[in-house]
Symmetry: C2
Subunit: 346 residues, 2 copies
DNA sequence: GTCTATCGTGGAAGCGCATTCCTTCGATGA
DNA sequence: TCATCGAAGGAATGCGCTTCCACGATAGAC
């Protein structure tokens, strides 16, 4: 079986072995509009099989003028938020004969632009920008510019999070979710709130804080800016932010961390401080990261269907051809009350 | 600035605008061995910039006969084990001008072969197979075969986990780690052990069980096969496996789950059963998943430097050219005792 | 002063494939 | 029987780039 020339097998090798022309081999293997006689087709397929032929995707891309590569750019693939989205994308991509190229900005949003350029070089069919938008005009401007170029090249861009760019977007209803959460927490009897906010420029974090404040406002409760502590959007960021709040923790009865990983950090900080959740303090997060569902006490949070977010983004990619103008898909979160907040109104 | 032709800008456009030949433009932009006069070089660079030129990677790959794509194949990118490895790979790739294409087998090992074929089509420089090897001859045989073809095409393959394939491998010392863990647990006074094992065919799971049994054996303790419960390598798998053990849980004083996510599932099952860890039962995991470090009680486990694993794999990819035969890097785990096991020997 | 190295540049081939155009052949209808 | 047409196969082109080769100019050796 399968003696194989050194180096890659080309379509020419297949054609030669099958005793047909290049054109016929191509048509037989990649089903064109043209028909190929059954006998020849069989011969070609057999030859390809026996030579372990795999079409050179670069050459195909070149000849066809398009590729089957889709880029996925995240801030940190180790963050369960992003890895869940990535899983959703991968699953949706399954069977669509698409290769997903992963970009990781390592939490430096300006690197999104670099990936966009690299993926344009690859002639990627589309790019999914999964990270939060930033309130940073120079970076946003550069990104916007590069997106124009990318699209002018025939590529499609899909963003996840905020509708800040003129592209297909999966909008995550951060504000709404945080507002609902605030309402529920007030319903549980909490009145004096602290917030562990993320980086100020990160819109996802900011939207959640705004939404939360809004929700409190509807119940006539003010959020004292002194009780809003900023920190990185990570476990350690939550830990640190919580520590800065801890001096005046006596004045609070509930803390909202803008995401679950921060909430977990906060829980540790609280525990180290001798505070027991929820007895001494209520604590809530956002995202409902599945890996974190079993922390004890279980986190009250806002559930986001992250895999579905990824899948939606991929669907936008697939159906990009037919669209005329940017589309928006909205994904809502759902408040989940668990043990990290008290259950009885007081 | 930057008026731009419809569609992609080609090197020819750049050359034309700079008033030089294609060859010169190519040399100026992609630094060859040949030198280009300073004035011309400047003209070319300026033209490229003003046209937003991004070299067509497909065409370059074609002309050069190689690409800068590296494939990373994992079982489930949402699993923190794999996402940590992926993060390590991404970070190591940083600055090396390499694009990482992600494959996710969705826990169907036979799909590794499919990805290998697809990545061969892409003429990937290398592929990192991050998942555990399986004890499944047909699949292993197909994989081995496809690896041969891949390497014959000039690609490099790096495996992570077991040295089962004749390729560069980052070996994870599962057996050793589990053995050490067993020793430590015995040192804490535990005597009657249960094990939550993963799928029987998965070598990573199996190695950990073997190593654990070995460690117990050294202390003269037998592991009763009746106390080894198999389950999926996931949180739910741990939960279920623990439940099957729960009937006879009175005969046990410590349970070892072959990874942390299973341990977390087990912890929930135990709690639902009214058992308190570590008071009623010791519990240990494996991996030291960072997202899980804050579960309460904190898990005794074997710490694996997963990001380093990913980085090592990537280094093997980079230095593949110089090697003559498959290399092996060994990564050891380190036992970390925490609150899920008792601290005082009894 | 001529004759060879050297250097910077342009011309052109070729990477592997899809596809257009052309040729051939058999079938069909008059 | 012959013209016509459709279908199937093959030759040739081009996708965008790198790189080998050729060429003229300049410099250094004699």
């Amino acid at each position: 079986m399968a003696e194989q020339p050194r180096g890659s097998v080309t379509l020419m090798d297949v054609a030669a072995r099958a005793g047909v022309s290049l054109a016929t081999a191509s048509r037989a293997l990649n089903g064109s509009t043209r028909k190929v006689g059954d006998d020849l087709r069989e011969r070609v397929l057999a030859a390809a099989r026996s030579l372990n032929y795999a079409a050179n995707a670069q050459a195909q891309a070149m000849a066809r003028g398009r590729t089957n590569v889709v880029g996925l750019v995240v801030h940190d693939i180790a963050d369960p938020y992003f890895s869940s989205i990535a899983a959703g994308v991968m699953e949706a991509a399954e069977g669509h004969h698409v290769l997903v190229t992963l970009g990781s900005t390592l939490r430096r949003p300006e690197r999104e632009v670099d990936y966009l350029v690299a993926l344009r070089g690859q002639r990627s069919r589309a790019v999914i920008l999964a990270g939060s938008r930033m309130d940073d005009s120079p970076v946003a401007e550069a990104l916007r510019r590069e997106i124009d170029i990318f699209e002018n090249d025939g590529g499609n861009v899909v963003a996840i999070s905020q509708k800040q760019l003129p592209v297909d977007t999966v909008v995550i209803e951060n504000r709404l979710g945080a507002r609902d959460l605030a309402t529920e927490l007030v319903g549980l009897g909490y009145r004096r709130f602290g917030v562990l906010a993320g980086p100020d420029a990160m819109l996802t974090a900011r939207d959640r804080v705004h939404g939360f404040r809004e929700g409190l406002g509807r119940s006539g409760i003010d959020l004292d800016p002194a009780f809003v502590a900023h920190g990185a959007f990570t476990r350690d960021g939550g830990y640190q932010a919580m520590n800065t709040l801890l001096d005046r923790i006596g004045e609070l009865d509930c803390v909202f961390a803008v995401n679950d990983v921060m909430a977990v950090g906060a829980m540790v900080a609280a525990r180290e401080h001798g505070l027991e959740v929820p007895r001494d303090l209520g604590l809530a997060g956002f995202d409902d990261i599945s890996t974190l569902r079993d922390v004890n006490p279980a986190l009250t949070t806002v559930r986001l269907p992250l895999e579905k977010v990824g899948a939606s983004a991929f669907e936008l990619v697939l159906s990009a051809a037919e669209r005329t103008k940017p589309r928006t898909r909205r994904i809502k979160g759902e408040v989940v009350l668990r043990q990290s907040t008290r259950t009885i109104s007081g």
